[in-house]
């Protein structure tokens, strides 16, 4: 970072210039992310929403009365909340045991499973739709469940996407949690369940709340999943904004719904923020090696009954079942990608080296484009997200300062909760000669990684922040007492500890960027489409060859993601963790 403390400071000079530098550093740390968010998120969204509220230069809020008087609006709001709440609750209920098994135990194939559960998170929704629907359709392998086109199918798909969010967010903290507190409770006579409920669960609450708020935002803004699996009878605020904007050009209704969406999202963030901060404190953290045990299905010899082995078995069974359910659509996808005209073969995979007669580039070139864009997006997201996490991790003494910090945290979560259509159209409207500059940013290759970084920043923040917050403040105080300048404390304490979660942050940001489709579909230039854009184009074209290629390309995207996430896990220094 930019702060350099002189190695041998003159005591008097150091305090004066040092304080100036500290102020300058924090100003930059706050200003850079705010500028970034303001230019590339708040402004385009405001411009787009203003289209609906400003008529001939006059503010017209009549849209509210109009839209709220439609019974359909209330049904849509209700459905959005119901889907998001159920999807989040199930993701948490299933994800917490998953975190316990995958992050608190060692067994063969663990890193494979950790990467595997991440795959659904990045798959394009059109592909998940195909994979899910061909399982559920009458006559399909799960047709007997009669779930096709039901509310349950949508919720199942939402859990499919968000399971990994909870597992990784909770697991990251759990694997470093010092087990001695729970052991002490057990030694004092608490049952395994009581010890978990009264000691471990409260310690995990901030991570669970954090994961739940991410999952809620993803569920509440799910678009393709809802349309493909449920159709419009289960329409949400997000699908309605899309329809009003792209089909009906009713910008007034779209603007009103965008505001409703913002209110729902802001409300969620406030609730999650409360749940988090009430429990958040410095935790007794340890190296994963100290807390992780081998996974044993049989009770080890000599262990007495009532040792919590039953809980482990239940968690393992639940996780095995979930992994099986996650695997079904994915296996189905692979199987279908291998089906050729009359038999089986790798034809669709060899076609990936071609344009399939319909694309502007080959699928491999699109893959390379995706990697390049994701790399840029990741770098931007790390810098911006890292600064936000650093600022938000501070605990100002005054209440005003604390509220400002909490507000900043919530502000950077907003991009996850705002419709991609609103952002995408907003970009098109605001990025032509922005601020009177003579550049048309709409077709600039830079805009794509920036747009993806806007979505990746909140994920980086959620990864790095808990690590910074769990740092015992006494560590900083000790460093300062020993004569370290504020800059040096920042470098040797905060930055070096935060850097341990870098691998996880990189993996998360990279995965999110690779899979991003909403804003990308508006901005990707046809001569450089990304992999999800190419998959979308292929799947929408008549002809079984294009369809097969789309499925093969999706398998490539899945394997690529799993590989990168697994590599990033290895990148972590020992003792690293944090939310994913």
């Amino acid at each position: 970072m930019a702060v350099d403390a002189p190695t041998r400071p003159d005591p008097v000079l150091a305090t004066a210039s040092g304080r100036g530098r500290v102020v300058a550093f924090w100003s930059v740390a706050v200003a850079v992310p705010l500028l970034f968010l303001g230019i590339f998120f708040a402004w385009p969204v405001t411009v787009m929403i203003a289209q609906g509220f400003v008529v001939d230069g006059q503010l017209d809020l009549g849209g509210f009365a109009d839209v709220f008087s439609r019974p359909r609006t209330w049904r849509i709001i209700g459905l959005t909340l119901a889907q998001a709440t159920l999807g989040t609750a199930l993701s948490v209920l299933l994800g917490v045991p998953g975190a316990y098994v995958l992050y608190r135990h060692t067994f063969r194939g663990r890193s494979f499973l950790r990467a595997f559960v991440t795959v659904p998170f990045v798959l394009p929704t059109v592909v998940v739709g195909v994979a899910f629907r061909s399982l559920l359709v009458d006559g399909g392998p799960l047709g007997f469940l009669h779930l096709d086109g039901t509310f349950a199918a949508i919720v199942a798909a939402l859990v499919f996407f968000n399971y990994a969010v909870v597992v990784r967010a909770v697991g990251g903290l759990w694997e470093r949690l010092d087990p001695r507190a729970e052991q002490a409770a057990r030694a004092l006579g608490a049952s395994p369940w009581t010890a978990f409920r009264t000691v471990t669960l409260p310690a995990l609450t901030p991570a669970i709340a954090s994961a739940a708020s991410l999952a809620f935002l993803f569920c509440a803004t799910a678009f393709g999943t809802v349309l493909v699996l449920g159709g419009l009878q289960f329409g949400t605020i997000e699908t309605e904004i899309w329809i009003q904007t792209t089909q009906f050009l009713d910008l007034r209704a779209a603007a009103v719904l965008s505001v409703v969406q913002l209110v729902v999202v802001a409300g969620t963030l406030v609730v999650a923020g409360r749940a988090r901060s009430r429990r958040e404190r410095a935790l007794g953290l340890t190296l994963p090696s100290a807390s992780v045990r081998p996974l044993r299905l049989r009770r080890p010899a000599g262990m007495p009954p009532g040792d919590g082995h039953g809980l482990t078995l239940v968690a393992t069974a639940v996780t095995a079942l979930v992994v099986l359910l996650l695997a079904l659509p994915l296996v189905n996808l692979v199987v279908r990608s291998l089906r050729t005209g009359d038999g089986w073969g790798l034809d669709h995979y060899s076609a990936l080296g071609t344009t399939g007669g319909s694309l502007t580039v080959t699928v491999w070139q699109a893959t390379l484009n995706s990697l390049r864009v994701a790399l840029d997006a990741t770098v931007i997201a790390l810098v911006v997200g890292g600064l936000v996490a650093l600022v938000v991790s501070r605990r100002p003494r005054r209440a005003v300062g604390r509220r400002a910090v909490a507000g900043l945290d919530a502000l950077f979560m907003l991009p996850l909760g705002v419709s991609a259509v609103t952002v995408g159209f907003g970009f098109l409207l605001s990025m032509h000669h922005p601020f009177g500059l003579p550049v048309d940013l709409r077709t600039n290759p830079l805009l794509l990684p920036v747009a993806q970084a806007v979505v990746a920043v909140p994920l980086v923040v959620r990864v790095v922040l808990p690590v910074l917050r769990a740092i015992d403040p006494r560590l900083r105080e000790a460093a300062a007492t020993l004569g370290a300048t504020p800059g040096r404390v920042l470098r040797t304490v905060d930055l070096s500890i935060a850097a341990r979660s870098l691998g996880l942050a990189v993996g998360f940001a990279f995965a999110a960027s690779l899979g991003e489709f909403g804003a990308t579909s508006f901005l990707a230039r046809p001569d450089r489409p990304t992999l999800p854009v190419v998959i979308f184009r292929l799947i929408g074209r008549p002809g079984p060859e294009s369809y097969g290629m789309a499925l093969a390309a999706s398998v490539v995207l899945a394997v690529l993601t799993a590989g990168i996430v697994a590599a990033c896990e290895r990148l972590r220094a020992p003792g690293a963790g944090g939310e994913w």
Binding site: V137, L249, G341, S521
Partner: protein, 340 residues
């Protein structure tokens, strides 16, 4: 071990950094006389080398912008008309043509057959009900022929159509029923279809590949809304006849237009590119690359098209002005009737 992995990862990052999108020095596109920007839908495609040949011949550089499909394409053009996204638009269909013209998105042209003096037809196709011959043969059931047949009890639970609100062939089929049964009759028809178990899928590919029994995905339903040009791709390997067919008495004609954008930076280039789209070089390629019929009478169709993909003699029609006036109301009514 862990250290080696970290080193490898770091090396990988450095290699990747060399080819980041920002770092690769892409020349920013400029609106110089040498560049022409084509705004088009997601399905736009030409066979390899065709655009290169045009660039070589004309000295122009062609940039593509593909911001979406159908309504999304037109609505973005409407919203950005003060600072247009490009010079030429291709792919506005008759369901949205009136909106584009009424909003002043496209500049007037003198072309003879232009729609409202602004949009020139480039290609067309029929959206028709398709049936799985193999399924009907196996069941010993006669195939439906007309739209009315689809409401008969023997075809209960056999039809799947894409959603009219979210899919452009879905909207075309809604328009076919408006053309067939009139403004007063189409709602009753859809009520009957619904009572007969019509299934609504989100998009065309979803309906054709997941629900349809003849599309290769092995779905349960043998009747699907698709295109007149779909059957040729179901000729089995080594076979001579397609296993599916289009019902030519159930079709709606989709025409795709092109037009020079109002306020284009390079209107001359746009006109050259438009002429190129209408030349037989491109017109011959359209069936192969975009699955549509060329408007040019001198263009040649692929053999399997003349054999297995005939067009309807009398497709249903709805006047573009009527579509423009009523589209939103019809879609709302359709949603209410079919989706509930």
């Amino acid at each position: 071990m862990a250290r080696i992995h970290s080193l490898l990862a770091v090396a990988g990052v450095v290699v990747l950094a060399g080819c980041s999108a920002i770092g690769s020095g892409d020349p920013a596109p400029s609106a110089s006389a040498g560049t022409v920007t084509l705004v088009t839908h997601d399905s736009f495609a030409l066979s390899d080398g065709l655009l290169d040949a045009f660039e070589e011949e004309s000295g122009l550089t062609v940039e593509l912008v593909q911001p979406g499909d159908g309504g999304a394409l037109v609505n973005q053009l409407v919203l950005t008309k003060d600072a247009p996204l490009g010079d030429l638009v291709f792919g506005i269909d008759n369901a949205f043509a009136s909106r584009a013209v009424d909003e002043g998105v496209v500049a007037p042209t003198e072309a003879q057959d232009a729609f409202e003096g602004a949009l020139v037809p480039v290609d067309y196709g029929d959206v028709c009900i398709n049936v799985d011959h193999a399924w009907f043969t196996a069941q010993g059931l006669a195939e439906p022929v007309t739209l009315e047949d689809l409401t008969e009890p023997e075809y209960k639970d056999l039809l799947v159509v894409p959603n009219a609100v979210t899919s452009s062939p879905g909207l075309s089929f809604l328009l076919a029923t408006v053309g067939a049964f009139g403004e007063d009759g189409w709602v009753d028809y859809w009520t009957a279809l619904k009572a007969n178990g019509v299934k609504v899928a989100d998009g065309w590919s979803d309906a054709y590949f997941t629900d349809f029994s003849g599309g290769g995905g092995g779905g349960p339903r043998p009747i699907v809304l698709s295109y007149a040009s779909s059957p040729p791709s179901t000729v089995p390997e080594g076979g001579t006849e397609p296993t599916t067919g289009a019902l030519l008495d159930t079709c709606f004609r989709q025409t795709e237009y092109a037009g020079v954008l109002e306020g284009a930076a390079n209107p001359d280039g746009a006109r050259q590119l438009l002429d190129f789209l209408l030349s037989d070089t491109v017109q011959d390629d359209i069936p192969v690359s975009m699955y549509m019929y060329p408007v040019s009478e001198t263009a040649t169709l692929p053999e399997e098209w003349t054999a297995f993909a005939p067009l309807a003699d009398e497709p249903f029609e709805v006047a573009p002005d009527d579509i423009s006036k009523n589209r939103e109301a019809w879609l709302a009514l359709w949603s209410e009737t079919v989706i509930g």
